[in-house]
């Protein structure tokens, strides 16, 4: 087995059909990112297990991978999302905790970011409450964009829908969030996504 570090995810996945060990390279490329996302959604108790299950599910259905997507991240996030949805109660508990206390987030402390963090932490409980109130599918989309940092097109791939559908749904979700949070909420319409 030889792994070309420049090979795209699509190449690795296609080749892994005959050389299964190559899928390990896909794990190594994307597991940290997927683990971070699962951790943010479900917390430390399930992060490891759900990440392993995500990649195992991906490995088992790699024959269905669309080779036209060179980057496997959206596909992996789609699988992770389905694994996470099996633990909805855990996620809801976690959001309840976020509602009562700000998150244990990153520790960088650049001054601009520090200011943003203060604002975010002040809004934290209300944001978490608003997240909880969102329908499951809307929450999935919002967190794919906010926490997984997927572009609209990537989120559309993960959700199996179109980019324009993602744009309009996200707009509706953000209007709803603003409504849930009231007028104090400092939403601006900056383009976070692309």
């Amino acid at each position: 087995m030889s792994i070309d570090t420049r090979a795209s995810d699509a190449e690795l996945i296609v080749r892994s059909l005959t050389e299964p060990d190559l899928f390990t390279a896909v794990f190594d490329r994307h597991s940290t990112e997927i683990l971070r996302y699962v951790y943010a959604r479900l917390g430390p108790d399930l992060a490891e297990d759900v990440t392993a299950e995500t990649f195992l599910a991906a490995f088992r259905c790699r024959g269905k991978y669309d080779g036209a997507w060179p980057d496997a991240r959206p596909w992996l996030y789609g699988i992770a999302m389905r694994q996470i949805s099996r633990h909805r109660r855990v996620e809801e508990r976690r959001l309840r905790v976020l509602r009562s206390a700000p998150a244990d987030g990153p520790t960088e402390d650049h001054s601009d970011r520090a200011a943003e963090r203060v604002t975010a932490q002040r809004l934290g409980p209300r944001l978490a409450a608003a997240l909880t109130a969102l329908p499951k599918q809307d929450r999935e989309l919002l967190l794919l964009v906010a926490w997984a940092e997927l572009s609209y097109a990537e989120a559309a791939t993960a959700l199996g829908t179109t980019t324009s559908a993602v744009k309009s749904r996200l707009h509706r979700i953000r209007v709803r969030m603003r409504h849930e949070l009231g007028d104090e909420y400092p939403v601006n319409e900056e383009n976070d996504d692309e």
Partner: protein
């Protein structure tokens, strides 16, 4: 600041060391799961004390049954050839199937020596060790558990990943845990290693290492864990001893 930025700021994130430990553990589990499997086998929950007699009579498959109770229970003798054998204690059940596979069903972590004997009686070269610990009182009078020493299984100690996948199937790690062992896939000289904090009070949780197949049957040493001074994070014993980073970290089950 937009709502998306605010959400990003609030995203819970683990410390980098914890993230990497979790990633390595997930990788190991992925590798074990993706390794070629031996003959497919349906999960069968070991028969517990409640339904034991009925199941045995109905199936007529249990030629000899060892039923003991209490954490100090001693496993019994081998059943007649070709038949299954089950050892039940209040903490765990070890069940050997007619096809030679051995299931460990743990509903609490206790009696490591008895578990080792039961596994060895079923042909599994097992090393089961307690992780010594101190119970301290923490915030709000909640018990805080501190290991006084711990086991660090390095990649040099482990059997190859293909062997891990062939020997050990982890049905569920959290209690009640289920592990299935295929003793005939264990290379000569290898050993199954289990370690846990035995008899922890319920409020303190359950702490165990992930089961692993060792390349040889030398039990890893329990490396003393230095006491942590207030406000200071203690170095890992492995790092202090100049060993490679631990590849198997304690995990709350």
């Amino acid at each position: 600041m937009s709502d998306i930025t605010a959400l990003r700021e609030l995203r819970p994130a683990p410390p980098p060391a914890e993230l990497e430990a979790m990633r390595m553990a997930a990788r190991e589990r992925f590798m074990a799961g993706a390794a070629p499997k031996r003959a497919p086998r349906r999960w069968r929950r070991p028969v517990l004390a409640g339904g034991l007699t009925t199941a045995a009579v109905a199936a007529g498959a249990v030629a000899a049954l060892v039923l003991t109770t209490g954490p100090g229970a001693t496993p019994g003798r081998q059943a007649a050839a070709g038949h299954s054998r089950t050892v039940v204690t209040t903490a765990w059940t070890v069940s050997e199937d007619a096809d030679g596979t051995v299931s460990i069903y743990l509903h609490e972590y206790a009696n490591p020596a008895g578990l080792q004997r039961a596994l060895q009686a079923d042909g599994v070269n097992a090393i089961v060790r307690p992780i010594p610990y101190l119970l301290e009182t923490g915030f709000n009078n909640k018990p805080v558990v501190r290991p006084t020493c711990n086991y660090y299984v390095t990649s040099n100690d482990r059997a190859p990943l293909a062997v891990q996948g062939a020997v050990l199937t982890i049905g569920r790690r959290a209690l009640p845990a289920l592990f299935v062992i295929h003793p005939d896939a264990m290379p000569p000289g290898s050993a199954l290693f289990l370690a846990f904090m035995a008899n922890l009070p319920h409020s303190a949780g359950n702490i165990a290492l992930k089961p692993v197949v060792l390349g040889n049957d030398a039990a890893p040493a329990c490396v003393p864990v230095p006491a942590k001074r207030p406000g200071q994070s203690a170095p890992t014993p492995a790092a202090k001893a100049g060993n490679p980073a631990p590849s198997s970290l304690p995990k709350a089950a």
